[in-house]
């Protein structure tokens, strides 16, 4: 073993410039140790233990066997909630996109008009993500009453936190050259966004928006809370009552929609990449 290491040391060489001053070495060492300690601490706290999974194969196969075959009879019952959920997720996602664009643009370091606005919009985006959908749902219920409307509002407002954050990040990621070129023509911020930023982030943002749509479709348990049904609620109900074969059928419906959205997303992206 030792001779192997020696051989490696003699024959092989790292292609990265290793820092030679003690301060840098110490810094790297410090971060590695910190990371490993955090990891150990977390693994212990979560009682993570891969061996235990292997003991539980039986339990998993038991539960999976109860999930199959899916109960096809309930499909007709799922149509209405599926449609409702699709409607809600479309409107919610469009609302989220609308809200996220100004926040994301102001929250991108390379195009924000001033650092204060940057800080404020990043804070708002963080706050929007910190508050769960349910709480937004309750707030909107007290404003507009029960039904799909408050649920849609909750989904829209709550999704905008994620969309805005990623929008900001991907604007910060664009090639600085093209932004420089636009600025060099004397174009203003808005024009720079339209001509340099949008063409570059569009594939990513379309992909993100469609993902969020899919996510909103999946996360529609929220609708149950505001009294508007939805496919997620159906899923939870069949799960809670241990009707696993119905649950599997509902999952298949959800998977179909997810796969469809994924297909649409990749088709659109292929066109604009």
């Amino acid at each position: 073993m030792l001779s192997l290491i020696k051989k490696i040391n003699n024959e092989w060489c790292l292609a990265i410039d290793i820092p030679k001053d003690w301060k840098s070495i110490f810094k790297i060492f410090f971060w590695i140790v910190l990371f490993l300690m955090t990891l150990t601490w977390s693994v212990k706290g979560t009682q993570f233990n891969l061996y235990r999974i292997s003991l539980g194969i039986e339990g998993i196969s038991d539960i999976l066997s109860r999930m199959f075959p899916p109960n096809i009879n309930i499909v007709s019952r799922l149509i209405k909630p599926t449609i409702e959920t699709i409607q809600m997720s479309i409107v919610g996602t469009l609302l989220a996109i609308t809200l996220s664009i100004p926040l994301g643009v102001l929250g991108a370091r390379n195009i924000t008009p001033n650092p204060l606005l940057y800080g404020v919009s990043r804070f708002i985006l963080n706050a929007l993500r910190a508050v769960p959908e349910v709480i937004f749902a309750i707030i909107f219920v007290s404003a507009v009453g029960l039904g799909p409307f408050p649920g849609t509002l909750a989904i829209g407002v709550s999704s905008s936190g994620m969309l805005g954050k990623f929008l900001g990040d991907s604007i910060e990621n664009i090639d600085p050259g093209s932004l420089e070129a636009l600025e060099s023509t004397g174009a203003n911020k808005i024009q720079a966004i339209v001509y340099a930023v949008i063409p570059q982030i569009l594939p990513e943002f379309v992909s993100l928006g469609l993902f969020r749509w899919e996510m909103n479709f999946r996360a529609s348990t929220i609708l149950g809370i505001v009294g508007a049904g939805g496919i997620g609620f159906e899923l939870m109900t069949s799960m809670r009552l241990f009707k696993y074969q119905e649950m599997t059928m509902t999952l298949i419906v959800i998977l179909t929609v997810v796969a469809l959205v994924d297909f649409i997303a990749s088709t659109i992206r292929k066109k604009i990449i």
Partner: protein, 254 residues
């Protein structure tokens, strides 16, 4: 019209790219910047319209300081720049790229909807035709050859109708025929419309043929600044040799 005083730039506190460069460019001049690869030509050109923040020295364009954030958009409108790496937006068509040069003259809302005044579009198409890309006007720029992309960058600067054009290796990717055509086009613009040119070029022959003033840069130092007429071969050699004795002299003089 352009006054550069004691300009210095050090990247990452390590790489000295410009050292104490001072120069004045007058209206109507056609100045060529020559120098070895890595000498600091791009750094000089990019600092002029404020793309690079310098740590010492001042740059004034028509009496206004470039480091003044408030005027920068107005100044940039008057300075067209052709980038060494083209910096065209690959997902836009040629026409859209060239119209970027018209944005400073266009209504923000309209231009955001890709609506332009007819005369702007015609002017942009004109510029495209002048660089020989007429047939490619509606083609996405990532479907162009290297030289074609470079010409899109040139057309964009032309479309801007600036007072000063900064060009960083504008013909590097072009065949000799197209290169001369482009340089003739720029000379024509320089002569007829009085647009000032500051250009870095690797081809010494072309630099002498089209420029009327040569600026030699070596290791970030402006080693000479002369009219083309009267420039000796020996002086020319200075910037392209590794001999540093002359630079040291110069350095002490500064």
């Amino acid at each position: 019209m352009l006054e550069i005083r004691n300009l210095s730039k050090t990247y990452n506190n390590k790489v000295i790219a410009l050292k104490n460069v001072s120069l004045t460019v007058n209206k109507g001049e056609f100045a060529m910047v020559l120098g070895l690869s890595g000498a600091g030509k791009s750094t000089l050109i990019r600092s002029i319209n404020g793309l690079i923040s310098v740590e010492a020295g001042s740059i004034e364009f028509e009496g206004v300081s470039v480091s003044n954030k408030e005027n920068i958009n107005k100044i940039r409108k008057d300075i067209g720049i052709i980038f060494q790496q083209f910096n065209i937006i690959k997902r836009l068509t040629v026409l859209e790229n060239v119209l970027c040069g018209r944005l400073a003259y266009s209504n923000t809302i309209m231009s955001s909807l890709k609506l332009f005044k007819k005369k702007d579009i015609n002017w942009a198409l004109d510029c495209i035709e002048r660089v020989g890309l007429k047939e490619k006007a509606y083609v996405r720029s990532d479907q162009l050859s290297g030289g074609q992309q470079q010409r899109v960058g040139i057309a964009r600067a032309l479309a801007q109708q600036p007072k000063l054009i900064l060009a960083d290796e504008p013909v590097a990717s072009l065949d000799p025929y197209s290169a001369e055509e482009i340089l003739e086009l720029l000379t024509e613009i320089n002569k007829k419309e009085g647009i000032t040119m500051l250009m870095s070029l690797h081809n010494v022959m072309l630099a002498k043929k089209y420029g009327n003033r040569i600026l030699g840069i070596k290791n970030g130092i402006l080693v000479f600044d002369k009219q083309v007429i009267g420039l000796t071969e020996k002086e020319m050699q200075l910037i392209y040799t590794m001999d540093t004795s002359l630079i040291k002299e110069k350095q002490q003089a500064v």
